[in-house]
Amino acid sequence: MTARARPGAILPEILRSLGHRPATEPYPYKTIEVPAGFRGRIEVAEEKCIGCSKCAIVCPTECIEMVAGERDVTHQGRILKRKRKPVVHLLSCIRCGLCEDACPTDPKAIFLTEKFSGAYTERDVIVG
């Protein structure tokens, strides 16, 4: 790093940039492509959940609450009556995915989606 310093060393890059398109992504006028495996919102497929509460036990922020919810669930070929279902408090969720890893059903009853847009206008929508 012994070259002589002069003012305006970045000038060639500036002039090149004047000819290029801006690097800004004009969101929300253009949709954003997220890669596969992006950690988006957590969603629950109630018809698959067997109510084991493993997700609530594993969650680091303890944002999953098991609430009452009677339903019939098909699990390993049998129909079972289940009493509890998980509700995710999206404001506390850190989208770590431990709940998805801990869920014993296949396909998973609680899973990370790729929905990244988190802005809502009503609070009720984000609780569960």
Binding site: P7, G8, I10, L11, I14, S17, L18, H20, P22, A23, T24, P26
Partner: protein
């Protein structure tokens, strides 16, 4: 000019309303150019106007311990000084209708006023950051004012006149002063950048060091007026450079008469101003901020001697009879 046309000139075009529009346009153009140089998008066209309107609606607070009327008057004085200076700059034809022999001196002095007002603003604000910024602003004034005046002296000396109208008219033949005084052009641009307190000379308003410098305590309408004055200073400074060095609103070799002539002259003037704004934006984008002692060092060792060399060259050329 009769009273009606004079009033139109004064208040509409190229008077106050035009100047306001021109100021907003200059700020937009500068911000957009800088953004594109930095490979990003930049604000939409109405952004400066939107900022102005937004600030007008904000709460206007005068801190305790600050003389209220004086504090409120300072942005008004700055606005008035710059607006008056713009009256003498030729925009439509070779001379402004208010021009008189010696108006260059008047314009230069009027353009010094905003810096003095910056100092007053910072000093009377009851805020340590503002006070520091005010002191820095005056220190910077000593560094760039001499080269600025000397560089503006160059064209006046070349054509032996203090009237802006004469300087522009004498360049109408095509011999723009920048062609034989390039050093003076460079010095004037750099000194103008320092007068406008933009990077690399935005030491008084160094955001990362002293919050906002002298304007720290300005809010609401006062801040709106102050920002507009700064934009007007940019516009007037660019127009002055165009008039002094680039031939103002004249096209080489073409006589522009009547209404069509005035329109073409204005268009030519506009293009030249865009060029000067491009150069100023390049200066702003390509460099980092200097420290005050480094600026003083460089200013007195490089900038002022360059201006003096230019004056010496002009004198020599005149003595040799080539002009």
């Amino acid at each position: 000019m009769d009273a009606g046309l004079l009033t139109l000139y004064l208040f509409v075009f190229p008077g106050i309303l035009f100047l306001l529009g021109f100021a907003f346009f200059s700020e937009w153009y500068d911000r957009r150019l800088t953004a594109r140089m930095q490979n990003r998008m930049g604000p939409p066209f109405l952004q400066p106007f939107a900022d102005f309107v937004k600030l007008l609606s904000k709460e206007d607070i005068t801190p305790t311990g600050v003389p209220r009327r004086l504090y409120a008057a300072i942005p008004l004085f700055a606005f008035a000084a710059v607006a008056t200076a713009f009256l003498y700059v030729p925009v439509l034809g070779a001379a402004s209708p208010f021009g008189f022999p010696g108006d260059l001196v008047l314009v230069l002095y009027l353009l010094t006023l905003p810096t003095i007002l910056v100092f007053l603003l910072g000093w009377t604000s009851n805020n340590v950051f503002a006070r520091l910024g005010a002191v820095r602003s005056v220190s910077q004034l000593f560094v760039y004012e001499v080269p600025f005046f000397l560089a503006a002296l160059g064209p006046a000396l070349a054509y032996e006149t203090w009237a802006l109208g004469d300087i522009v008219a004498r360049q109408a033949g095509g011999l723009w002063i920048v062609l034989f005084e390039p050093l003076g052009f460079a010095v004037l641009l750099i000194a103008l950048q320092a007068k406008l307190e933009r990077v690399p000379f935005d030491i008084p308003e160094a955001e990362t060091e002293i919050v906002a410098g002298p304007t720290t305590e300005l809010t609401g309408k006062k801040l709106a007026l102050w920002n507009v004055s700064k934009d007007m200073l940019l516009a007037t400074g660019a127009a002055l450079v165009v008039a002094l060095f680039l031939g103002g609103p004249t096209l080489p070799g073409v006589t522009l008469d009547g209404v069509l002539g005035a329109v073409i002259a204005f268009f030519v003037f506009f293009l030249k101003v865009l060029f000067v704004l491009l150069l100023l934006a390049l200066l702003k984008a390509a460099l980092g901020r200097l420290r005050l002692d480094q600026l003083m060092d460089w200013g007195w060792k490089v900038l002022t001697p360059a201006a003096l060399v230019q004056i010496a060259v002009v004198l020599a050329v005149k003595a040799g009879g080539w002009l």
